[in-house]
């Protein structure tokens, strides 16, 4: 029971990170039907930006009173900078190819992925770099299980961001423009929606959420390295497909479910991560073959 509960909490924590990355995949796919293969590396860059800001502010040694505003500041600045990176990538690598055959931007996406990893390798080297965990330590004892306070924070931060995103998409004028653009670009333009700006905003938000995921990953695993985005990106992509690519709620749900699956498989079977990967990518293939619309794929007919 205790082991089950532990794996569940681990799964939800990892799931929170996957979900934050998956949102970027799904939002970008929803609006321009591009699988942004660079998104995993955007996540890594976000984590590194966070680490740099933490060092600049000296937050590892900050007194508790300054820690909370400091961490919030790190999140806000890293998310903004990473958002701008996403916007720049879209502008340079995807927008010029918007009317090109589908394969072209897909190839540039893979290219951007390699470029980002290469730059991170050159700047940060090949080794794992330690990352301070600035979340509160300790654990809550529930009798049948004990839950790390840090894990609770991670799950809450992720859920908070997801709820904020969902409100933004559903309730605001810009969110409505994003959905309109995703559904029918010409019709959206007839309403007065600026497509370029709306797509840029989508990249900004997706990359900002990935940065939050990157920082949380650093806190959780207390390490970061240049190649982190590859596997985590693919797993998050699987989560997005599993939830129904293009669907924001689906990506969040898919992230948590995939996180839980990974940690249960990894915890209960010998061979840990290898088995997890086998299972996760089998899920990817099965979903693509048997239910390409995923859990919450678009089901309303377009007459």
């Amino acid at each position: 029971m205790r082991f089950f509960a532990d794996q569940l909490i681990l799964g939800l924590t990892d799931g929170a990170i996957f979900a934050l990355i998956a949102l970027g995949y799904t939002m970008v796919y929803g609006i321009i039907e591009l699988i942004n293969f660079a998104h995993g590396d955007i996540f890594t860059v976000g984590g590194f930006i966070g680490l740099t800001l933490i060092s600049i502010l000296g937050l590892q040694h900050a007194p508790p009173a300054l820690l909370i505003p400091g961490v919030i500041l790190v999140f806000l600045v890293a998310m903004s900078l990473n958002g701008l990176l996403g916007v720049a990538i879209e502008r340079v690598a995807y927008r010029p190819l918007r009317n090109a055959p589908r394969l072209a931007p897909l190839i540039t996406a893979v290219g951007i992925s390699f470029i980002l990893e290469g730059i991170l390798f050159l700047l940060k080297g090949p080794n794992q770099i330690s990352y301070p965990n600035l979340l509160p330590g300790g654990s809550l004892n529930l009798g049948f299980a004990s839950i790390g306070v840090g894990n609770v924070f991670i799950i809450l931060i992720a859920l908070g961001l997801m709820i904020a995103l969902n409100q933004f998409i559903q309730r605001t004028r810009v969110g409505r423009a994003m959905r309109a653009t995703a559904q029918d670009r010409d019709a959206a333009r007839l309403m007065g929606v600026n497509i370029n700006r709306t797509i840029a905003i989508t990249f900004f938000i997706g990359s900002a959420l990935a940065a939050a995921g990157g920082i949380i990953y650093g806190f959780d695993y207390q390490t970061i390295d240049f190649s982190l985005g590859f596997r985590n990106g693919l797993v998050a992509f699987t989560a997005a497909v599993f939830g129904g690519i293009g669907n924001v709620v689906g990506a969040a749900l898919g992230g948590f479910i995939i996180g839980i699956i990974i940690d249960f498989v990894g915890g209960y079977f010998q061979g840990g991560q290898q088995w997890s990967d086998v299972v996760v990518f089998s899920i990817l293939i099965l979903v693509l073959v048997f239910r390409p619309t995923g859990l919450l794929g678009m089901r309303v007919p377009e007459k």
């Binding site: 409505r176 309109a180 309403m191």
Partner: protein, 236 residues
Amino acid sequence: MGVLLEVDQIDVFYGRIQALRGVSLHVDEGEIVTLIGANGAGKTTTLRAISGLTPASSGSIRIRGQDITRTQAEDIVTKGIGHAPEGRRIFARMSVRENLDLGAYIRRDGETRSDMERIYTLFPRLKERQAQLAGTLSGGEQQMLCIGRAMMSRPKVLLLDEPSLGLAPLMVDTIFQVIREINAEGTTILLIEQNALKALGVAARGYVLETGRIVKEGPSKQLMESPDVQKAYLGI
């Protein structure tokens, strides 16, 4: 009354295919004008050129004298052009109300609520279904929503692309009735129709488009009496 919309000698290409050749037309303030023609004549292309979705490669388009030939589609709606496009193109995965809200996307004044009520008065069916996803509406209801959505920007001129296509006769009558009402309340209308008889019935003037060229124009009455038009479009 003065000229509201002026299309002057425009050419439009899809890649290397030329869809319009020197098309000119004008719509005066308060008029209903119709553009008729066979499948593939270039009617939809004309409207897409006006609203900027398929820009003209030469010639010019003006609204109240202001040149909009090179203006982006998303800015043209702010010049007072509302477009209810071919195939309706409503946002299927949004509610009726959200579709209407998007119609008012460019507006910053606080009066969109009363405009929405006006749309609901024109189309009571939409009011009953305001919370329903637009993709689940019937074809006729979707056409109502398409027109209502375009009206929410408070256009000076409304471009209607085959609003009666695929609708049952009773629904066609409803749509034409609404076109009259909208016009009576002051909105100028450029109407495309396959149903030439109905279109000429509601319009003051008409243009006939054939393979990308205007081949005939004049008051509706005169077009209806023209033997060519009767033979080709009225089935007489």
